[in-house]
């Protein structure tokens, strides 16, 4: 299940400093090693700046019109 893959990966990176450093240095290899589906791999790649570097710019507000 794709949701579970994302959840498990974020949890592992959040609780494993070594994995976090590895992700920061070589995200492509880490993502490939995990064997994600192309869709999950693409999503995880978008999460990398936030997971590995704590970069908040990737979660910039989207101002969706459907929410007031």
């Amino acid at each position: 299940m794709e949701e579970q893959q994302i959840k498990d990966f974020v949890h592992r990176v959040s609780s494993d400093e070594t994995l976090r450093q590895e992700l920061a240095q070589d995200p492509d290899s880490v993502i490939m090693r995990e064997g994600f589906s192309p869709r999950v791999a693409q999503i995880v790649a978008r999460l990398v700046p936030h997971l590995a570097f704590g970069d908040s710019s990737s979660t910039a507000p989207t101002n969706p019109w459907w929410q007031r």
Partner: protein, 346 residues
């Protein structure tokens, strides 16, 4: 701003004018005192009668709940009558505005309109809007729409209302439950029952009124539900993010305190949004302890941060699934920029 985007905004402006005219026609049937209150609700930010400060942003068109079914209907049948599509658009606008008001009251949010009208009048305005939504659909019978299709549109609205109220009820009941007892799936189901059901309805109604075939109706419905869920998760993760960072959102910059206060109120009420539930699972932090002594601990913040990132990732997943549906729709016929931009696929 790109040429496509600029031209889409001109298109929106023309369609919004059409929708406003239709809305005013329907509002004209109300008693002046009631009409004034209903108009106030429809003049809130993002609603069809909202008057945006042009200096703020061109990126936030108004009345998009009405625009969505209108543009979908025009996609399915480019020759569809303006009066017909605007009636359906207005019905959705009134329906969503009614549910928003109920949500404000149920969550005890002190939004500008609740502050102005008070709870009793807000509830009456909501009832009025729900009836206006039905009236707008019934008016289709006078616009040469076959009565069986009008009945089907009304039935679709009723079914979606029941779906959305069930989602809302589960959300309210979840406030009484410990976050760690909730599952991720339940959070998604609640999002599907609320935002998902509403967006599904808006997309489906546009397709139905234009007499789309069953396959296209299913594709638009599925895309709407997936987008609705994605939007809810996006909202939940960003709201909590701002609160955690002690920052205000761009919405707060325009209407000070609006989002931050609403999120604080959600947390205080024990709302079980996906990032909160994930954080509770991750660190075994109960939602009711969020306001306790541990709320400033690094572990608690790290668990919430993990919940936010995971929720954002799942939001992207739903958005991608919605995009798959969009591509299936587009495989049949290209989608023009105004609808594409409104859906967020450009």
């Amino acid at each position: 701003m790109s040429k496509d985007r600029l031209s889409s905004f001109s298109h929106y402006a023309a369609q919004q004018e059409l929708l406003r005219e239709r809305l005013h026609l329907i509002l004209a049937t109300l008693h002046p005192l009631l009409r004034s209150d209903v108009q106030q609700a429809l003049e809130e930010k993002g609603k069809l009668l909202y008057q945006p400060d042009k200096s703020i942003s061109l990126a936030l068109p108004t009345g998009n709940w009405a625009l969505l079914p209108l543009l979908i209907a025009q996609y399915v049948n480019p020759f569809i009558d303006d009066a017909v599509v605007s009636s359906v658009g207005v019905a959705i606008e009134c329906f969503v505005c009614a549910l928003d008001l109920l949500d404000d009251v149920e969550d005890e949010d002190q939004t500008p309109v609740v502050q102005k009208l008070g709870v009793a009048r807000t509830l009456n305005v909501s009832t009025t809007l729900l009836m206006l939504a039905q009236q707008a659909l019934l008016s289709l019978a006078q616009q040469n729409i076959p009565s069986d299709r009008v009945l089907f549109l009304l039935d679709t609205l009723q079914t979606s209302t029941l779906h959305a109220t069930a989602g809302q009820h589960r959300d309210l009941l979840a406030e009484q439950r410990p976050a760690e007892d909730m599952t991720d799936e339940e959070c998604i189901e609640i999002a599907a029952g609320k935002a998902g059901a509403i967006m599904r309805l808006a997309c489906l109604m546009g397709a139905l009124v234009a007499d789309a075939d069953k396959i296209l109706c299913v594709q638009f419905s599925e895309m709407g539900e997936l987008l609705g869920i994605a939007h809810q998760l996006d909202n939940d993760s960003h709201d909590l993010y701002y609160l955690l960072q002690g920052q205000t959102s761009t919405e707060d910059a325009v209407h000070p305190g609006t989002v931050t206060e609403s999120v604080k109120s959600d947390l205080a009420r024990g709302k079980k949004t996906l990032p909160v539930v994930l954080a509770a699972h991750s660190e075994r932090i109960l939602q009711e302890n969020a306001a306790g002594a541990d709320e400033d601990s690094e572990e608690h913040k790290a668990a919430l941060q993990e919940g936010i990132i995971t929720t954002w990732g799942i939001c992207l997943l739903y958005r991608d699934r919605a995009h798959d549906c969009f591509q299936k729709i587009e495989a049949q016929k290209p989608v023009a920029s105004p609808l594409r931009i409104l859906l967020g696929f450009e």
